[in-house]
């Protein structure tokens, strides 16, 4: 029973008691105080019920909205289809490039090993090897398409996660500590090739020679100057 209904019923009970013409004034005084108390409680519980109800309603709406947003993310589709497909595409890219590299290098090695005593036969051999190297380069078309699919998947995920984050007002939590192997990697391994290559600006060179160590990149020429 809501608190406001309880207060109303107590108030009604008090009115009934008062109407029975009780003689003791002290009892009437107690009843009067009880009436005042019930009125105060009714106002208090009334506001409390309303605010609690409002809060619960807000929470329920928030949960419903979160559920809708998570559904819009299509997490099962991402987990079961898109990510495995992207992973398989990347694995195929690695295999394709490895295979092509192996073919090209093998052809080059065989050419380097060849002794050109018979020039006609040597030219025919070179032509054949070169053709195989050209054919092997066709991997680029296929890997390009595979990488495009992966980029598409990443863009799809990025868009949905961004929208989810924006709608839900999500703030990044502190980064979790990885396992021991992951921590070792962070500490010891470099990040690998940069997207813009190892080109160096004068600022980086100046910073280096001024003793101001920066994160700028050095190119081969700049590194050479350190060892010359």
């Amino acid at each position: 029973m809501p608190a406001t209904d309880v207060a109303t019923r107590i108030r009604s009970a008090l009115d009934d008691i008062k109407s029975t013409n009780l003689d003791d004034p002290r009892l009437m005084e107690v009843l009067g105080l009880a009436e005042n108390l019930v009125d105060s409680m009714k106002i208090f519980f009334g506001s409390l019920d309303s605010s609690v109800h409002g809060e619960f309603r807000y929470i329920a709406e928030y949960i419903a909205r979160t559920r809708d947003e998570i559904a819009a993310l299509r997490p099962n589709d991402i987990q079961n289809a898109r990510l495995p497909t992207a992973g398989a595409e990347l694995e195929a890219v690695v295999k394709d490039t490895e295979k092509a590299t192996d073919i090209i290098m093998s052809m080059a090695e065989e050419i380097l090993e060849e002794n050109p005593t018979d020039l006609d036969a040597y030219k025919a051999m070179i032509d054949g090897k070169m053709m195989q190297m050209i054919e092997a380069c066709s991997f680029q078309d296929i890997t390009g398409q595979r990488v495009s699919k992966v980029v598409e998947t990443l863009t799809h995920i990025e868009e949905r996660v961004s929208r989810f984050s924006e709608v839900m007002g999500v703030l990044d939590a502190a980064e979790e500590q990885g396992d021991e192997k992951e921590e070792w990697r962070k500490e010891n391994l470099l990040n690998g090739p940069q997207l813009d290559g190892p080109a160096t600006g004068q600022d980086a060179i100046d910073a280096l020679f001024d003793g101001d160590i920066s994160d700028e990149q050095l190119g081969q020429d700049d590194i050479d100057s350190m060892f010359d």
């Binding site: 192996d102 290098m105 010891n188 470099l190 050095l218 081969q220």
Partner: protein, 129 residues
Amino acid sequence: MAVDMAMPILVVDDYKTMIRIIRNLLKQLGFNNVDEAADGQEALQKMQAGAKFGLVISDWNMEPMTGFELLKEVRGDDKLKGTPFIMITAESKTENVIAAKRAGVNNYIVKPFNAATLKAKMSSVIGDF
């Protein structure tokens, strides 16, 4: 003093293709005595087992022992510390180059590189050939 073209060279990289590329480049430069290791640990084991190398050419990013750790191990070992050491890596952050130089690397090559660069760096370390 003339460079001993028959000297053993240790190439350390976890990518077989890169080892193959460096092997071929070294062969074109006239060095045929090339050994290989897939990471710093394997390289160090070979060196500590008594194999004497006239030059170590090592990648940085390898597990479980990086090229940088290998360099420090080599420089910290009385028997090995004089071995010429060239680092080859795809990344060239200033602090990493400086850290490698302070640890005693003789030269540093940024990937991708060509035969001319490899020859120039090797010449600066072991002499002209």
